[in-house]
Amino acid sequence: MWTWFYKLASPPYVYGAAAALTPWFLGLAAITMGYGLVAGLVFAPPDYQQGDAFRIIYVHAPSAWMSLFAYTSMAIAGGIALIWRIKMGHAVAAASAPIGASFTLLALFTGSLWGRPMWGTYWAWDPRLTSELILLFLYVGVMSLRSAFEDPARGDRAAALLGLVGLVNVPIIHYSVLWWNSLHQGATVAKLGKPSMPGSMLWPLLSMLLGFMLFYGAVLCVRLRGEVLNRERQAKWVREAIKS
């Protein structure tokens, strides 16, 4: 197990693995998202209360999930880099941040458009919405902090620390609908064993979630290759790799 872990610390291995995985992630993302879109937009029945407006869930929920997933990945990668001094951890964290920020923006935008017909307003200072907005600010803070230092290593460490501190916001976002009175609906899928959706609505949603995760993986791999090249520019293996 440790051999595998140490392999992940090797820049040439990460660079090569990212290159090999990208087309697989992209291809599978296209298939799962294609199925999710067609099944969600065409075959799923309208909701008995929300009508066809509920179809926004097929882009809103996956983007919201991915905003949390990308942040958690970023914070864990930064934490690994801080604790074990693995440089690739910082590279993964740096590559993950802009993708996660874009998913957070997407979740806020689609949630706002869904909120207008359902709640009568585009925005409310609701615990779920506010904590998701704080997540966007955290992403922006982490990215800004990383580039604010002249010494990239110090920027990496500061960004990893802020990422770890901000991790406290992730359970707050997830449980905000339970801890406080919220306009936002409670969990529909995450209720273990008994999701409150029929299969015809649920499967496209799960497929979209998988598609978003695979897409995140693909974009992360491409960004990661750029990060590795930027960080290892002077290394001999990079010179060999870009010659070919």
Partner: protein, 67 residues
């Protein structure tokens, strides 16, 4: 959730989304935009990094020849 029954939404009703078209379609359009931007910007970042590495290599080779 769920009205039950297998209903296929197509034709005019599909595009009007039961009167919610102005909320539903912008969400999907913005999603496409964000996903496309992610791919484009990641690729641009990678290409720029590769170019910088090539320049660094060329500079190192030129410095070696001068010596």
């Amino acid at each position: 959730m769920g009205a039950g029954g297998d209903q296929i939404v197509m034709g005019n009703g599909f595009w009007s989304m039961g009167g919610y078209a102005r909320y539903v379609w912008p969400c999907f359009a913005f999603t496409c935009l964000v996903l496309a931007w992610n791919l484009w910007s990641a690729n641009r970042y990678y290409v720029a990094a590769r170019l910088r590495a090539r320049r660094a290599l060329a500079a190192a080779l030129a410095a070696g020849e001068e010596q």
